[in-house]
Structures are given as C-alpha cells and as structure tokens.
Amino acid sequence: MKRTNFYLILAALVLCAGPAMFAAAKVGESAPDFTATASNGKTFRLADYRGKYVVLEWHNNGCPYVGKHYRSGNMQRLQKEWTAKGVVWFTILSSAPGQQGYVTAGEENSYLAKMQAAPTAALLDPTGEIGHLYDAKTSPQMVVINPLGVVIYDGAIDDKPTTDLSDVPGATNYVSLALEQSMAGKQVQTSATRPYGCSVKYGDSSH
C-alpha cells in the first residue's frame, strides 16, 4: 500500500520532470548540460564550468551576420576581453554536414588562426544536439550563463540586426552588458532579445 503510493509519487515526479528535461534553455532557468568535442580535439562539459561565467556563441563562417562581427574584429575583441576576465567562451558550430558553415576540426582550427579568434574552444556540433538543446535559431545567437549555471542572457549579440560593418561601432552589445551587470551584482536589464542573423543550418533544414 505504502509502496504503491511511493511508486505513484515517483511516477508523477518523473512525468513532471520529463518535459522539463528536454525543454530548451530559457532565461532564468538552469542551462542544460552538454558534452562536446572541440576542434582542438579536447572534450568539454558545460557542468565542469560551474563557478564561472560561460558565453555560448553560435557560429557559421559563411553567414554575413557572423562575417560582420569577425571581419570588423568585434567578436575576437569580445572573446579576448571576456576570457581575460575569467569568462569561458564556447563558439558552437551546429551546421550539419553539407550545410553552410559545416567544417572539419582542421578547417575550424585554420579559421580560428586566420581570424585570430580567441574563444576558450570551438565546439563541433554537427548533429545539432547542443543547438536544439538551446533552441538556437541563428548565428550569431549568444547565450550567457552565470556561475550558478543559470541562463542570464539569450538572444542577439547587439542591437543592430544588420550585415553592415559600419553598424558595429555604435551598437549596444548585449553580451557585454549582461556580463557587466551580472558581475556588478545587478539584475541583467535586457535578458532576452530576438537573436538576429542567419538561420542555424541544422540537418533538418529543408528547402
């Protein structure tokens, strides 16, 4: 009798937790954990970085919106600035094989060197598993996770949804704002925006 009740409660809890476990990341909620292989061959697990701020940057080297931030040097500058302050920066490549932005580990390493990019690591996600876990829609979509493992920002890199290099200098950078405000113990004022850019080229892309 007691045992039956226990199982019923357990079943109810499992059912409750079920959808939440598979739901996409949301601002104010725990960042879903993942393990991925980086272009440098190392394995990275998000949960290992509790206690640190983590930035996730969705990348596609053929996307003109991504191009704006790399050709202007803006992305590299952000990567250098924040990793120097102890932030972990993961560039994530969710393009499926055959799609725009899909690269091998070697090709990504050459790109990082050529662009003088400085993320902590570039994570290869050709199955789109991490992308779907975070419901990443675009490149360059950006996610900021606080040391408690909670998503504090999800959306666009800045407030200028264009491909123009000339829009970079005057833009308000939402990633820097979120990190600055959170590090100062303040509430992140703009915590979710429309993540402008090119659609993430998942394997299920059909056209």
Partner: protein
C-alpha cells in the same frame, strides 16, 4: 548643290530611332540587379499631381527558391530597409506589406516572399510642389536575399516622374503589378467580426467570432518576439469561428497590450487584425459578475419557490 548620300539618310533615321528608344527606356526605370534577382521602382500613375498621393511600388523579382523578408522576418533574416532621397515637397507614407509566407524549417520559421513581390509605398506631393521640372525619387535599399544561405545586397533605385496640375491617369504598364500587389495585401477584418485575446501563462489564445466555423487559420505577428514563430498554432474550430493558441516567445518577458498581425484563413483570405489583450482583472470582474448573477438567480428562485409554497 551636292547630292545627299542615301546612306546618310538611313543613318539619320537610325540615330533618331535609337534616340527614341533611349527616351522610352528612360521613362521606365530599368530593374537594378540585387543578389539572385532584380529590384525596381514602379509608379501606379503617369505623373505626380501636387496635393495628391501617388503609389510607388518596390518590385522584387527573384530567382527560383530565393526569398526576401516580411516586415517581421521571423526567426532569422531581416526586412528590406530603405533610405530615401526625396526633393522638398515629397514625403513617403508607411509601406504596405503583402501577406507573407512561412518559410524555413520545422524549428526555424521565417516570414517572407519567394519569386516576386511588390511592396507599395504611398508618396505624398505637397499642393505647393511646382510643376516645372520632373522629380526624381531615389532610395538606397539594403536587402537580404536568402535560400539555404543569405546574401546581403545594396542597390540604389530611382524613378523620375513629371509633375502636372491635373489628375494623373494610371500607367497601363504597371497596372497588372499593382493589381496583383493589392490582391496580396491583407484586408481589414469586417466590422462585425469579433476578436478577443487572453493571456494564459505560456500562450495567447485568440478567439474569433465571425459567424461561421473556421477549420484552418494561421497568424503572422507584426512585432518580433511576441509569439514563438516556429511553434505549432493549435486551432480549435468553433460553431461561429475558432480559437487559436499561440505559444509565447521565449524572448517575451513583459506582458503585451495588443497583438497585431495578419490572420490567414485561406490562400485568398487574409486580414489585418489588432486585438487588445483582455485584462486579467477585467476577466476576474466578469467572473465575479457571473457569480453574483448566479447567486442572485438562485436566491430569486428560492424566494419564488418559498412564495409559491406559502
């Protein structure tokens, strides 16, 4: 007198002919190339009449499979953006956007147009506009053209129109394009159609009472980040309309006051709607009123029953 060379006559005819052709070509603006397509201005009327409005069309012709975006591009992309260069006395009104199509994949929903589209822009001419010289209407256009990949394009397009102080007849060369553009614009919803919108925790529920049962409906939001673009819109047909459940966008952190957009009921029936969100407090009041009415009715019934038993 020297006899004229007959070849020179031919040459003269040829020169005049070429000049005439060039003249005709300049009256109709040539299409400007953009990535995987062309863009041109078209005018609905033959000239600008001071004190009146002329409709200008921004006509995109795209290669098969390529698209440009609606005013709300959806999950990715961006709409065409115009920077105008206009002479004094000429102002532009808000652009009219034809009903978009849902593009993209199961998890990423974009809103835009494939093949060809004409965006209509009303041009107002001041009554004081002098009718001396033709005016040149110019715009710098930034446009993102996408298929599996996206290519940003820039073009400067221009159209020169005469000014005349008399009603401007329509230009027969563009009337078909304007007719097609008008047909694809969302219509105002009929006045007797009633819409309401309730804000539940994760969704907005759009209820429509339009006097007939509706079994298919799709809503396109004008503003970004209100509803989840890719989420399935759940339709519940009702005897006199429908209820459509729209999942909220994850980016929507604050309550909204209105939901504005285009409601598509079939390929040739789309309507511009702007529905205020029912206030939860108002809903509570109406519930309270219902309870009070029910209590009143039951008390009244009891009283009547007691009276009849006396």
């Amino acid at each position: 007198m020297r006899r004229q060379n007959p070849n020179a006559d031919h040459l003269r005819v040829l020169i005049v002919g070429v000049a005439l052709l060039l003249c005709a070509a300049s009256a109709q603006a040539a299409a400007t190339p953009i990535p995987h397509g062309t863009l041109e201005f078209i005018a609905e009327n033959q000239w600008i009449a001071p004190g009146h409005t002329l409709n200008l069309g921004l006509h995109f012709q795209l290669e098969k499979g390529w698209h440009v975006y609606w005013v709300n591009p959806g999950d990715s992309g961006e709409p065409p953006r115009l920077t105008w260069h206009l002479p004094p006395g000429i102002t532009v009104g808000p652009m009219e956007w034809p009903t978009p199509r849902r593009l993209g994949t199961a998890t990423i929903a974009d809103f835009g147009y494939e093949d060809a589209v004409t965006l209509i822009v009303p041009i107002h001419a001041a009554a004081t506009l002098p009718a001396k010289q033709p005016v040149q209407l110019t715009a710098d256009v930034k446009v993102l053209v996408c298929r599996e990949m996206c290519i940003p394009g820039k073009a400067q397009i221009s159209l020169t129109l005469p000014i005349k102080h008399q009603a401007a007849p329509s230009d027969t060369r563009t009337s078909n394009l304007f007719a097609a553009a008008r047909e694809s614009l969302p219509q105002p919803a009929p006045g007797n159609w009633k819409f309401s919108l309730t804000d539940t925790k994760d969704s907005f529920v759009l209820s429509a009472n339009i006097g007939r049962q509706i079994t298919q409906a799709v809503f396109f939001p004008v503003a970004e980040s209100q509803i989840d673009n890719a989420a399935q819109q759940k339709l519940a047909p009702k005897p006199a309309g429908f209820q459509l459940t729209l999942r909220k966008s994850d980016q929507l952190l604050n309550p909204i006051e209105r939901l504005k957009g285009v409601l598509v009921l079939s390929a040739d029936q789309s309507y511009a709607i702007d529905v205020p969100v029912s206030k939860p407090r108002a809903a509570q009041i109406s519930e309270d009123v219902e309870i009070q009415l029910a209590q009143f009715a039951s008390n009244r019934y009891r009283t009547l029953k007691e009276e009849s038993q006396k």
